[in-house]
Amino acid sequence: MNYGLYTIFLGMRARQNTLETQANNIANASTTGFKAQRMIYSTFEADKKGTGDRQLLVAGASAATNTNFTAGAIQQTGRGLDVAIEGDAFLQVQTPNGIRYTRAGNMTVNDGGQLVNKNGDLVVGEKGPITIPRDSELSIGKRGVLSAGGKDIDSLKLVRFNNPAAALLKDGESMFVATGAEAPQAATDSKVTQGSLEGSNINSVTEMVAMINNNREFESLQKSLTLLVNDMGRKISGEIGKL
C-alpha cells in the first residue's frame, strides 16, 4: 500500500465533503431558523510503522460536521403566528416520528384550530397540543404565554441544551432530533417575540471565502497527487530499466 496516495485521498475526500456542506449552507440562505454547519478536520491515524524515533505515522484528515447554533438575524413580519426566539431555546414539535426541536417559529393553525408547523406537526405547549380559539386575536407574550380574549390558554414549551452541538442532530425540514447526549431543560432566559422570524444564520461572505479556500486546498492536493504519481512512475520505470 502506498501511504502517500491514501493520505491525499483522505484529504481530497474531506474537501469534497466540505464543499457539499457549504453548498447546503448557501442553498439554505433563506430558510427560516436554519443553522449553518461547519467542517472540523481531525487527524485520522491509519497505521504506525516502526517504533520510537523511527516511527512513521500514517495519517490523513477526517471530516466531521458541527452545527453552529448562533442566532440568525431577526426579521419583522407582523404576522401573529410568527415567533422569533431571543436566547438559546427551541420550540418543541410533535411529529409522527417523535419529538423534534426547531428554531423556525413560522407556525400556522390546522383545520382543527391547533397550532402546527408548516409540515402540519403539532407545536407543543406546557399542557400538550395548543388549540387556538377562532374568534379572538392571539397574543404571545415574552415568556411564550399564549392568550386570547384576555385569557391565558397555554404557553409554548421552550427547552434548551447546554451543548446543542452534541445534543442535537439535523433532521431536515428545519428540525433537530435529540441524540440523547443530554436531556432538554426548561429554558427560562429566552424571550419570545411575536410577529418576527429568525432568518438563516449563514453568512454569505464567510461561506464564499471558505469555499474559495477549500477549492485551493483541493487543487494543492491534486498537485501533490500528480507529483507523487509521476515520481513513483519514474522510479518504477528506472527500476525496471536496471533489470
Partner: protein, 263 residues
Amino acid sequence: MPNRALLTAATGMQVQQQNVDNIANNLANASTVGFKRTRLEFQDLMYQNMRTAGAAANASTPLPVGLQIGMGARSIASEKIFNQGEIKETQNPLDMLVQGSGFFQVRLASGEIAYTRAGQFHLNEQGQVVTAGGDQLEPSISIPTDATSVTIAKDGTVSTTTAGQSNAQTVGQIQLAIFANPAGLEAMGGNLFKATGASGQPTVGAANANGIGAITQGFVEGSNVSVVEELVNMISAQRIYETNSKVITTADRMLGTINQAVN
C-alpha cells in the same frame, strides 16, 4: 462527490427562482384591491448521516461529532399573509371594507361559494349586488331600482331610501365568513379564495360580532403588498441566487481538477 454539491446548489437556485417568481406576483398586484401578499417559506432537505455522533469510534470512545451532509433546500409553503391592506376612501356606496377578520361570500356561476376581501361591489341589471366579475354577493341582496341612497351599517345591514319616503327600508344583511386557518385558503385568482381542508369550514355570521370584523361603507381595502419590502427581498434573492451559482462553478472546478489528476 462534488456532484452532490452541484445538485445541492441547484436546489438553492430553484428556491430563489421560485422566490423571485412569487415577489413578481406580489409586485404585480401592488394596486389590486383586496390582494393579500404571498410569502414563500423554505426548509432544508434531508441529511445524509455519513457518521453518526455518539456512535462508537472504538471500544471506549464515542464519536463526539458526526458527519451529516445536507441535500439543499426547498419551498415548503406559500403562505398568504392576511394583514390588513391600506384603507382607501372612495365614497362609493357599494364599496365596503372589512375591519378585522372576515371575508365576503360570493356565489360563483357554478353555485360554489368563494370568499373575498375585495369589497368593491356593483349592481347588475336586476339590481343585485355583484362583484366586478358579475358573481353575486351571498346571501343575495337586491337594491330596488327606485332607491335614492344605500346605507350599509357596521353589522352589514343594508337599507335603502326611496324618493318620497322618509323611512329607510332594510333590504338584507351581509354575512361574513371567518376561518380557523385563513392561510390555508386556496387563491383562485380574481381576488377570490376557496375553502380547503387546511382552512377548515367557515363560521358564517353577522359582521361586528363574535370576532367577525365590522363593515365600513365607502372605503375599500387596498393591496397589503409593501413595494419597498418586496424590492429588498428581490435584491437579496438575486444575491443568494448568484452565490449558489458560484457553488456550481466551484464544484465544476473541483471535477476539472480531478480530471487533470488523471492525465
